[in-house]
Subunit: 233 residues, 2 copies
Amino acid sequence: MRRAVILLSGGLDSAVCLAKASKEGRSTCCITFNYGQKHETEIESAQKLARVFNAERHMVFNIDLNRIGGSSLLDDSPVPVNRDMDRGEIPSTYVPARNTIFLSIALGWAEVLGAHEIWTGVNEVDTSGYPDTRPEFIQAFEKMALLATKMTSAGDGMRIVAPLKGMDKGGIVGLGKQLGLDFSLTWSCYNPQPGGRVCGICDSCRLRARGFDKAGVSDPLASTFEKKETCRQ
Amino acid sequence: MRRAVILLSGGLDSAVCLAKASKEGRSTCCITFNYGQKHETEIESAQKLARVFNAERHMVFNIDLNRIGGSSLLDDSPVPVNRDMDRGEIPSTYVPARNTIFLSIALGWAEVLGAHEIWTGVNEVDTSGYPDTRPEFIQAFEKMALLATKMTSAGDGMRIVAPLKGMDKGGIVGLGKQLGLDFSLTWSCYNPQPGGRVCGICDSCRLRARGFDKAGVSDPLASTFEKKETCRQ
């Protein structure tokens, strides 16, 4: 079985990416970053997902990106809400060089594991232009990776696989459904509520809801928000 | 004053690199990685160097590369000695994707600081082919970096400056001398001895000694070893 390192945040996209890698017969070595993100709950989701998909390994890697800062996903900034998702601006949730850093660490691990593929759930359509989710970035990273390690400089290949490239959130939800992904195991909300509920109003909840709507699929996590709303009435 | 991020390990090469950046009028923001290396002493050296060169900032960033492994500089492997330095093999001290990881984190910090240069002391001549010290790697990293961040994708530049590229250890010592670097502030030994002494026999001590010999400069740290030898007789 071919080994692949999977960047697994515990969110929707990386879960679909893991489901696809498993379906395609990879032995999956998942890496999840505990980087100081507001929504640490996603790390628990990653752990559940790695178990459900029988990952060969799962490593939670600590790296404190708060030391660098520059993002509303870090430090004490308010949880990002009310972003105009169709405006095409890079949102405040952008974390400087995050994918470059995560892919680099995955590259080191891939070398030690003898894996020649790193899978990532990046997709640029709905993120309104996080620079490090674009296909040209992924391509440039791959080129650099081929020169960066003992393994690759000896001529062994390294592919950065981005199976969700070019898809929108609706398409990703549809693919997840087709792959039989249990969406209740994933986590997107930036602002986890007591009792494992989602807030339903942060940018990430709204982007997720839009994806499920588009795909005509019902989100098992959305109901935790709806219940709360019902109680309020 | 132009800001530059400097990768500062505390070793000879990065110290010369910092000296050169200062000499060339950069306001220096130094970053040192505490990554689980055997010779943590080098971090103290980095702190002294940053002070002496009036760095604008100095960040010691913790990242546990032992989680990834794959190097005799990490974990409980014996300290590397007796390497044939002229054989052209990649030595066991190679750390998977180390420079890629360090440059990536520096890239994130550079963006937050608004710095458009990252300086690194990499040089490939005496390392016998660490893949991530070669000019073609540095070039590929720079290309990738231009696509990786909000700042660079908006058209602002990012240069990876490697002023020691193509130099051997003798040349680096010579340049350090010319720049007035106090070599006693640097650290190279993998196997620090009590009382701040160097071991004198590890691969790094031997490589350093060869550089000082070639340059015809006396190494203030070597005397700590010679004294020990004298006592033994």
